[in-house]
Amino acid sequence: MRFKALQLLVHGLSLGWLGWVYYLGFSDQLGGDPVEAIIHYTGKGALHLLMLTLLVAPLSRWLKQPRLMRLRRPLGLYSALWAVAHVSNYLTFDLQFDWRLIASELVQRPYIVVGLTALLILLVLAVTSLPKLVRKLGRRWRTLHSGIYLALVLVCVHFWWSVKGFELEPLIYGLVALVLLSLKRRPLWRLAERAQKARPPMVK
């Protein structure tokens, strides 16, 4: 019963909060520049959800609550949703569908390229989390979904590069990301090792 409430909370907050932020934006209650505010807010929201997603497995291990794992998929999907909102805000309200500008920004600005890469990873992971595809991918699903760690690192770089001067906030997020990486039970280098082993032996 308590678990059901937790599930509802995850859905309610992830969706309700997003709706609420848009309501505030359209009604001019997001400070002097609602456009920048909502871009930043949804960007950070996506990152928070991404971090929460990665926290689920270690938490369920520590608390010995395997049921918690069922929250991982919705959290990951909501992270992707907020990321899509973030990018849509940028394209709609900031660049206002000036396609030439969008194209040049996407290609020229390193922090945008990094963000785009992260977004693509999140989208691939979102699609391949369909139960049918999970089954079909079998073991490969695991390897593929380790890509979430790559997305996390990319988003932190994106954040770091997007600020004008030298700021504490992206550093803090970077540190939290490092902690999350270190919590991974099967370290990433193991995956690399396994991939190596899977390859046919080299013939001299």
Partner: protein, 340 residues
């Protein structure tokens, strides 16, 4: 009045968001279902739920201002119909003033305890007549209103009615000598009250005090303004109380706030953003759609006027922020791409 009109002439009707255009856009958005009933209701509901929002860190409530501004008397600028100024709330609630924090809502939140009385502004260096002005002296000049576009290097802009006097009027009193080739400006250094100066992280990694500079001919140009007011009143702290510079054809960071020192010097003076990131911010920092910031395009800008999401327009950025007619001659033999 005539005089002010001449200065405002750079501002034609096309340059400022026309109110009817603005209304049309809103209508369009509403038809698209972008602005729901909420958007309509909200204009009356105001900040009713501010307490909760503060808790969530989403909005900034306008400060219960510990700081009070005072009305000024001045020669008013001509406000032709159709000119859409950026609302006072946005002008005073969205500021880059890293001394009070790097978030643009920080200055209004954290600057309200700033003390501006007494204030001392010195004019020295290569001058025959060094000056020391106190707070009241700042308002003894012939004050006039100027409606200027302010173009931030971050590719947004506002249209703001300032009150002030030409910098030239001040400099002439100090009587620069023949060695005065540049002018160096400095912001108040008060780490005790300015968290950004106290803590390297809170201040965006800039070295403080904030410094800026102009070539003497730029400083003497009639568009270069010393502002002491905004929307008819003395400046609030977040906009650079009690006295700041405005160089409307340059990116906003040149328009240094809360100035305590003006020095006429022989050599090109150091400037804060140039010191912090020389590849990204030059000494000249003239608004130029052809010269991109290394991390974003400067070809267009988002004009912030009023309203919520979907009410701003992205407009092409103009060379020298649209003041080319008045200032282009200052740079006629220069490669603006290299001297950015």
């Amino acid at each position: 009045m005539k005089r002010t009109d001449a200065f405002n002439s750079g501002l034609s009707e096309n340059d400022i968001t026309d109110e009817s255009v603005f209304l049309n856009r809103r209508q369009l958005l509403r038809q698209l279902g972008f602005i729901g009933a909420g958007g309509l209701l909200a204009s009356t509901s105001g900040h009713a739920s501010a307490g909760l929002l503060d808790l969530l860190g989403i909005t900034d409530t306008p400060a219960e201002s510990g700081f009070s501004t005072e009305p000024l008397s001045f020669a008013a600028a001509d406000r032709s119909p159709g000119q859409v100024l950026t609302t006072e709330d946005k002008v005073t609630g969205y500021n880059n003033f890293y001394e009070f924090g790097t978030d643009k809502a920080d200055p209004r939140r954290h600057a309200q305890d700033m003390q501006v009385k007494p204030w001392t502004l010195t004019v020295g260096g290569e001058v025959n007549q060094p000056l020391t002005l106190d707070y009241d002296d700042l308002f003894r000049f012939e004050l006039e209103e100027r409606i200027y576009r302010l173009r931030c290097v971050e590719a947004w802009s506002m249209v703001i009615p300032w009150v002030g006097f030409p910098l030239a009027a001040l400099l002439k009193r100090a009587d620069p000598n023949s060695d005065a080739r540049y002018v160096a400006f400095e912001t108040l250094h008060d780490p005790e009250n300015m968290a950004g100066q106290r803590n390297r992280f809170a201040g965006g990694g800039l070295d403080y005090p904030y410094v800026e500079g102009l070539r003497i001919d730029e400083a003497m140009h009639p568009l270069t303004l010393v502002a002491v007011g905004l929307y008819g009143k003395t400046l609030p702290p977040q906009n650079g109380a009690p006295v700041r510079l405005l160089v409307p054809w340059k990116y906003g960071f040149k328009s240094i706030k809360s100035v305590v020192s003006i020095r006429l010097v022989k050599e090109q003076p150091p400037t804060s953003w140039n010191l912090a990131a020389p590849r990204e911010y030059g000494f000249y920092a003239n608004v130029n759609p052809q010269v991109d910031h290394p991390r974003w395009s400067q070809a267009s800008e988002r004009r912030i006027t009023r309203g919520g999401l979907g009410s701003d327009e992205r407009i092409p950025t103009q060379l020298f922020n649209g003041y080319a007619e008045q200032v282009a001659h200052l740079y006629k033999d220069m490669d603006l791409k290299r001297a950015f």
